[in-house]
Symmetry: C2
Subunit: 274 residues, 2 copies
């Protein structure tokens, strides 16, 4: 069903890095890790898939990327649903005998189980961590729901065989814009470089910025209309990009390829007029 191993994660510098005391219990044993690399089932056109891949690359987690082509509905095959993810979605991971889906759960797991992941991604300090959890939870019904509704109902729906609705696109845009405003005023207030004023990015920064990058699909005009008034958001996107460079740019290459295809193929954007 899936075959392409598009990229191999980098080798670790050392398998014997110090472990964080708060997370000792579940850490993988280096031997097991070397024998069975993590498998990441992903489509880079999916924003949570990109978050997982960038996270693995930036943290030198050795992994095999297995492309599950959403445009070919490979995520909906009985094989994928029975063997990898019963929800029929990407990303999903298989780590030895352990299977997991839902991107935030995967990010938490990777940050907790793989040695050598810097603490700032998912802090051991429970107060800092709780604030990050709060953003991750908020994301689902706000930024994600707004962005997904908007993008599916403008350009991506037809490619995925989904119906589109201009009303739904409008509703999505409203929620998306409200969410951007919230991020700016609540979590990026003052001169915050990352969410909550943290000096380095967390898994919440990565997840939310990958979501916003989905706006590339809808074309420059609409992207600029939405992001234009939000300077802090744009600066924050750049901060996350820099902190995970060059992986961020590499993993987003496919997004820009698809964007170019969409803008040169009018039949692919039949629902693009709002």
């Amino acid at each position: 069903m899936t075959s392409l191993i598009a990229c191999q994660g980098n080798q670790k510098e050392s398998l014997f890095v110090p472990l964080r005391p708060a997370l000792l219990l579940g850490k993988r044993e280096p031997a097991a890790m070397a024998m069975q690399p993590l498998k990441v089932y992903a489509d880079r056109r999916s924003q949570p898939s990109r978050a997982i891949i960038i996270f693995c690359r930036a943290n030198r987690i050795d992994f095999d990327e297995v492309t599950v082509d959403l445009f070919k509905a490979q995520h909906l095959t009985p094989e994928f649903k029975s063997k990898i993810n019963p929800m029929g979605q990407v990303p999903a991971i298989v780590d030895g005998r352990f299977k997991l889906f839902e991107s935030h759960a995967i990010l938490r797991y990777l940050a907790s189980v793989f040695p050598g992941v810097p603490d700032h991604w998912y802090p051991a300090d429970l107060f800092t961590r709780a604030k990050i959890e709060s953003i991750l939870d908020w994301h689902h019904s706000n930024l994600r729901r707004g962005a997904v509704t908007f993008v599916l109902n403008t350009v991506l729906g037809p490619s995925l065989g989904l119906p589109t609705s201009p009303e739904a696109a409008k509703e999505g845009e409203k929620l998306l814009v409200r969410s951007l405003r919230t991020i700016e005023y609540v979590w990026l207030k003052g001169d915050a470089k990352f969410l909550n004023g943290n000096p380095q990015p967390s898994i919440a920064d990565l997840s939310l910025v990958c979501e916003i990058m989905q706006l590339e699909f809808v074309g420059d005009d609409r992207r600029d209309r939405i992001l234009g008034p939000h300077e802090k958001i744009r600066t924050w996107i750049e901060n996350v990009k820099k902190a995970t460079s060059p992986h961020f740019e590499e993993v987003h290459e496919l997004v820009f390829k698809v964007k170019a295809q969409l803008s040169s193929a009018p039949h692919l954007k039949t629902a693009s007029k709002l």
Copy 2:
């Protein structure tokens, strides 16, 4: 703005219970805890509010419950939004200087920071925990979205000053039913007593069951139509109820009072015909 301290959490049996090694870093100091009880801002008609209150009661966490009346829009006052939760939602907590919103983040925080919370609620084992995280994340865009859309667009919307739509109610019911099926076939398969076949409940069991209890508002006929075909779900609800008794029943008393009011006041259920 808010005043009612409707219930006081039980006193702890002992403040000096053994701490779980994996969570030592952030544990509250007993002295600070005794001086400033946790404040829980909640409305028991809200399902995530009930989950937090039941969790605190079942785990003997000392807390003051501050009622924020959603039907009087107290959650939307500038005072509540500036001092407690900028999102204008319940539940929210204030724990000394620390403020937090989003119910799943609050449940994780309470389970991690308060001494004496049994491990099964939020297991230190990272594999068991990751599976629970996966359910919590899935909940937002599936069971919660379905149930909230259905309940708001049938009976609760008018009381909250929200417009209702029969089409939205139908869409909500579809997603709700699909979500119940998923829970049954993925997480309650075999003779699972709790989600993932865990022998005792986790914060995911509590959160999801409180969501389903929201169906009491829509009346027995509709509740039975939806839950009728799902024997495993009904057994699981009973298991969570028993595991948290008598707190579960006590905290749900208001739900049954509102249900009785709704069924005897036809003007409150103008949108109830699907």
